[in-house]
Symmetry: C2
Subunit: 180 residues, 2 copies
Amino acid sequence: MSYERASMTEAQPISTTAVTKEIFREAMARLGAAVHIVTSDGPAGRVGFTASAVCSVTDSPPTLLVCLNRSASVYAAVRANGVLAVNTLAPEHRDLSQLFGGKTPIEERFAAARWKVGETGAPLLEDALVSFDCSIAQTFEVGSHTLLICEIAGVAGLARGDGLVYFNRAYHALGPATAG
Amino acid sequence: MSYERASMTEAQPISTTAVTKEIFREAMARLGAAVHIVTSDGPAGRVGFTASAVCSVTDSPPTLLVCLNRSASVYAAVRANGVLAVNTLAPEHRDLSQLFGGKTPIEERFAAARWKVGETGAPLLEDALVSFDCSIAQTFEVGSHTLLICEIAGVAGLARGDGLVYFNRAYHALGPATAG
């Protein structure tokens, strides 16, 4: 409608900030995101790391993606194993999130929690809010990272419980209450 | 270390749930995600819709992705325009989120808020927590959806403020307080 077009024409162009790496990280810190431990096991051995760059893709077929830096120490193992699990964390997993996001040796990380084995062989965190047991179906390289397109072979957990998100460089618990 | 390997061998395989579309949606509802209004403008006209399937990709070059159903009414316009903005919402944008996620005509949606024009021509929400002004650099089809790989030309906003996430089919405000 014309009045709306007019108001857009009047809208002043905004001077956006040039996107340095620092600005990119500062801006991305404003996006609240669920916290996950991504695990993998197979011929290349067991690995696990904390990740928030996980995204729903499609329910046809059930698919999610994990975005992983190709320079990450776990990258080769995840690709070689060809399977992974996304274990979505609850507020009580804050310490576990720190452990899997740091420099602690892999076996010590896994020793700090209880695990089951998914159909794909990937370790599933027993008390995760939900676990997605996945096979890597496709990969796409974008700059320094690779998008791992993961078909979901099975889902475990699905308990009702509080969530954990990372926002403004801090953990936040998501309770049952809503906010407007 | 061997004791850890042993404990994994002892771990019982878990019977995961077969992933119907309903299970997929139920499981994805457990992933807290930031709420955004994605906008686009150009030769194919102005469009805008609410989205949570947005993910950081890489800072080299600064890139995010938006996952969009190819059957969505806005899909053709976004692809033809070749640009989009991701406007990350704050708690006070709950009604705007509902408006851009429903059936309201496009012009009425935009009339409910104030906008500026990004360098790409995409509409930027004036009081967004942060706005990413992007050009679509690459696309990948995955099942029913397309991953729009978006290079970030500019960032606007970056105010300190509360966040808005969607979790368990409800809005949650993210204040400054952390939780463990």
